[in-house]
C-alpha cells in the first residue's frame, strides 16, 4: 500500500506540494485530478525520485519502504512504476536492449533469474501483440521518432513487462486518440488484481471512463481538497475545478 503523509516539496525555492495526505491500499486504483499547475506531475516525480525537487517535510512509504530515502532504481525495483507524461527519447539505445536491461535489473533485485534474449523476445512480442504495437518498435531507439501515441503505448508495454506493484500514470491520456486511449486503459485494467495498485493522474475525466477508479482525489494548489468515489470525477467534468475552489 502507498501511504503519503504531510508531504511537502519545493522546486527552486517555490513550494509546490503543501502537505499531501493520501493512502492507496493494495489492489485499488485511485485517480488524482486537478487543474494545470496544481502539483500533479510534481507528486509523481517526487514519488519516483527525480532530482531537482526538495522534500521539505512528510513521508511516503510503499509497502512499508521509505520511498523518499531510496534511489530511483531502488524504487523501481520495489515495484514503483512511473508512466511518464513526456516519455524521454534515448537515441542510440535500442528499445529491446533497454527493456531487457530494465527487466533483468528488477528481476536481479528480487533474486529472480535473468531472462535471456530469446525468452525476452518471446515475452515482449506477446505483450506487444496485446497492445497492437508493431514489432519493429523493438528495434528502434527508445521513443525516438515515436508518435505521441506510440510513446504512451511504449510506456504501457514497459509496465506490462515490469509488472509493478504500483503504477503511477502521469497524464497518460494526453495526446492519445480514442483508440489508443482504450488500448492503454486495457493495459492497465489487465494489471488489476490483489497485488496491484495504481495512481492515475489526469486532468480530464475521459480516461476514467475506461479505467474506473476506486477513489478520486482532487489536487489543487498543492493539497488534496476533496476525495470521493468515481462519481466525483463526473461531477468535476460538469462543474469544473472552479466550483471546487469556490466550495
Amino acid at each position: 500500500m502507498l501511504k503519503i503523509e504531510g508531504l511537502t516539496a519545493e522546486i527552486d525555492g517555490k513550494q509546490i506540494l503543501k502537505g499531501i495526505d493520501l493512502e492507496v491500499p493494495t489492489g485499488e486504483i485511485h485517480a488524482i485530478m486537478g487543474p494545470n499547475g496544481s502539483g500533479k506531475s510534481t507528486l509523481s516525480y517526487v514519488l519516483a525520485g527525480r532530482e531537482g525537487y526538495e522534500i521539505t517535510g512528510g513521508t511516503a512509504t510503499f509497502n512499508g519502504l521509505d520511498l523518499l530515502s531510496m534511489e530511483p532504481e531502488e524504487r523501481a525495483a520495489a515495484g514503483v512504476f512511473l508512466a511518464f507524461q513526456y516519455p524521454v527519447e534515448l537515441p542510440g539505445v535500442g528499445n529491446a536492449n533497454f527493456l531487457r536491461t530494465a527487466l533483468n535489473a528488477i528481476r536481479r533485485s528480487k533474486g529472480e533469474p535473468e531472462v535471456d534474449a530469446m525468452q525476452f523476445l518471446k515475452l515482449a512480442r506477446a505483450r506487444m501483440k496485446e497492445l497492437s504495437m508493431p514489432e519493429d518498435m523493438l528495434k528502434r531507439g527508445v521513443n525516438v521518432g515515436f508518435s505521441g501515441g506510440e510513446k504512451k503505448r511504449n510506456e504501457v508495454l514497459q509496465m506490462a513487462l515490469l509488472q509493478p506493484g504500483l503504477a503511477i500514470l502521469d497524464e497518460t491520456d494526453s495526446g492519445l486518440d480514442i483508440d489508443a486511449l482504450k488500448i492503454a486503459a486495457d493495459g492497465v485494467n489487465a494489471m488489476r488484481g490483489p497485488n496491484f495498485s495504481s495512481l492515475v493522474i489526469t486532468h480530464y475525466q475521459r480516461l476514467l471512463n475506461y479505467i474506473v477508479p476506486d477513489r478520486v482525489h482532487v489536487l489543487m494548489n498543492g493539497r488534496i481538497v476533496q476525495s470521493g468515489g468515481p462519481e466525483l470525477a463526473k461531477q468535476l467534468e460538469e462543474s469544473g475545478y472552479t466550483a471546487v475552489q469556490a466550495a
Partner: protein
C-alpha cells in the same frame, strides 16, 4: 644498440642526412628528389606550434622535446597477433612489412611492401600529399621505410583487408613513419581496416601517412582504428582525392595513445563524388585526442557527411576541427557536419571548431555542434525503470557512440569498429 637522436626537428633532419644513402629508393632519382623536397619542407616548417591556427588546441611540445631511436626489431621476430577483423590481413611490425605474418585467402588481392616496390609507386607516392602544408607528412616522406602499396585495377572488388601495424615499445623511444599508398581504379571497391596497436608502455612516435587516389566511381571504405600504447604519440595523416562518382567512406577511431592527432585532407575532385568523414574519440584520464579534417568540395554535385563524437573521462582533452571548403565551381554541394562531445568528468576539456568556407551559392551546407554531460532526464528515465545508475550511464555512453559507429554502412568495417569500442563505457561510467 642505437643511440637516441637529438630531440626536435633537428634530430630527425640529422637522422635523414645520416641515413639517406640507405633509405629505400636511394638509387632512384624521383624518390631521392621527393625526399629532398620533403626534407626542405620539414626544415622550413619544423614541428607545428600552437601559434599556427590549425594547431592551436594541440601542443606537440612532448614530441619536440623527445629524442627517438630507430626500431631494431629482428626481421623474423615472433609476435602474437590479435584476431583479424577481415579475411585478408597484412602485418607491419615496428613499421616493417612482414610477409610471413600476412594472411591471404585465395580471393585475396595483391598487397605489396612499398619499400620493396617503390618503382611501382611512381606517380602515386607523393602525388596527393601536401608536403609544404603538413610538416608531419613531410617528416614521413623524408624518413619512410615501408608501408603497403595497393593498386587495384579497374572494376575489381578487393573485398576487405586489414592493415595491422604493431609497435612494440620499451625504454627506448622509437619513431616509425609508415607510408601507405592506395589507388582504386575506375569502379573498383575495397574495404580497408587500418589498425594501429601498441605493445608495451614506453614512449614512441607512430607517424603514418596514407595517400589515396580514387578513380571514377571507385568506392573505398576506410576504417582507422587507433589502439596505441598508453605513452604512444600517434600523428597520422590521410590524403585522399576522389574522382567523379567515387566514394571515400571513412571512420576514425581514437581509443589509445597519450596524444593522438589524425588529419584528413580529402578532395572531391569530380562531380557526384561523396565523402564520409566520421569518427569517434574515446579519451580517458591523461589522454589527448585530436580529429582534424579538411574537406574540399572542388566539383559540382558532390556530397559530404561528417559525424564525429568525442567522449571524455578523467583529465582528458579532446579536439575536433573540421573545415569544409566549397569552391566556386562546386554548385549543388550537399554538406553536413555534426560534432558532439560528451563530458564525463569535471576535469575533461573539449575544443571544437567546425568551419564552413563557402564560395558557391547553390549549396546546402549545415553543421551542428553540441557539448554537454549525460542528459539528466534520460538518466532518470532509465533509473525509474529499475536500471542502476552506473548501468544507466554506461548505456547512454554506449548509445552515444553507437550512433557514430552505425553511420558506417559496410558491415566488416562496422563490426571491427564495434569490437574496438565495445566495453569502453563500462570502464568510465
Amino acid at each position: 644498440m642505437s643511440v637516441l637522436f637529438e630531440p626536435g626537428p633537428e634530430g630527425f633532419l640529422r637522422r635523414y642526412e645520416g641515413l639517406n644513402a640507405r633509405l629505400p629508393g636511394h638509387r632512384t632519382p624521383w624518390v631521392t628528389a621527393l625526399r629532398e623536397q620533403a626534407a626542405k619542407a620539414f626544415r622550413e616548417q619544423g614541428f607545428p606550434t600552437r601559434k599556427i591556427e590549425a594547431w592551436h588546441y594541440t601542443d606537440l611540445n612532448l614530441l619536440a622535446r623527445s629524442g627517438f631511436a630507430e626500431a631494431l626489431t629482428p626481421v623474423d621476430e615472433d609476435v602474437a597477433l590479435p584476431e583479424a577483423t577481415a579475411p585478408q590481413r597484412v602485418v607491419f611490425l615496428d613499421g616493417r612489412f612482414r610477409a610471413d605474418l600476412a594472411e591471404t585467402p585465395d580471393s585475396g588481392i595483391p598487397v605489396r611492401s612499398l619499400g620493396a616496390n617503390l618503382s611501382a609507386a611512381e606517380g602515386l607516392l607523393g602525388g596527393v600529399a601536401k608536403l609544404d602544408e603538413v610538416p608531419m607528412a613531410a617528416l614521413n616522406t623524408m624518413l619512410f621505410e615501408d608501408g603497403a602499396l595497393i593498386d587495384l585495377p579497374a572494376e575489381t572488388n578487393g573485398g576487405a583487408i586489414e592493415l595491422l601495424s604493431i609497435i612494440q615499445s620499451g625504454e627506448r623511444p622509437v619513431a616509425v613513419h609508415p607510408r601507405h599508398v592506395i589507388r582504386l581504379g575506375k569502379g573498383a571497391s575495397l574495404v580497408l581496416i587500418e589498425r594501429a596497436i601498441g605493445r608495451g608502455d614506453g614512449r614512441y612516435l607512430h607517424n603514418p601517412v596514407v595517400e589515396i587516389v580514387l578513380e571514377e566511381g571507385a568506392h573505398l571504405t576506410h576504417a582507422r582504428i587507433q589502439q596505441e600504447g598508453p605513452a604512444g604519440l600517434f600523428l597520422s595523416t590521410v590524403f585522399a582525392k576522389a574522382a567523379a562518382g567515387a566514394t571515400y567512406d571513412s571512420f576514425l577511431l581514437h581509443a589509445g595513445a597519450k596524444l593522438s592527432r589524425s588529419e584528413a585532407y580529402v578532395s572531391l575532385d569530380g562531380p557526384k563524388a561523396m565523402a564520409h568523414l566520421n569518427g569517434a574519440q574515446l579519451l580517458s584520464d591523461g589522454q589527448h585526442g585530436d580529429c582534424t579534417t579538411f574537406l574540399d568540395h572542388a566539383a559540382p554535385d558532390c556530397a559530404s557527411r561528417q559525424t564525429v563524437k568525442t567522449v571524455l573521462a578523467g583529465k582528458s582533452r579532446g579536439v575536433f576541427q573540421g573545415k569544409i571548403h566549397v569552391h566556386q565551381i562546386a554548385q549543388r554541394t550537399d554538406g553536413y557536419q555534426m560534432n558532439q562531445a560528451l563530458l564525463l568528468s569535471d576535469q575533461a576539456e573539449i575544443d571544437s571548431k567546425p568551419q564552413l568556407e563557402i564560395y558557391a551559392d547553390d549549396v546546402k551546407c549545415s553543421h551542428g555542434a553540441t557539448v554537454g554531460e549525460l542528459d539528466e532526464d534520460q538518466l532518470f528515465y532509465l533509473r525509474a525503470r529499475g536500471i542502476p545508475a552506473a548501468t544507466a550511464r554506461s548505456m547512454l555512453i554506449e548509445a552515444f557512440l553507437q550512433e557514430a559507429v552505425d553511420a558506417v554502412e559496410e558491415e566488416t568495417a562496422r563490426n571491427a569498429l564495434a569490437t574496438a569500442v565495445a566495453g569502453w563505457w563500462e570502464k568510465v561510467a
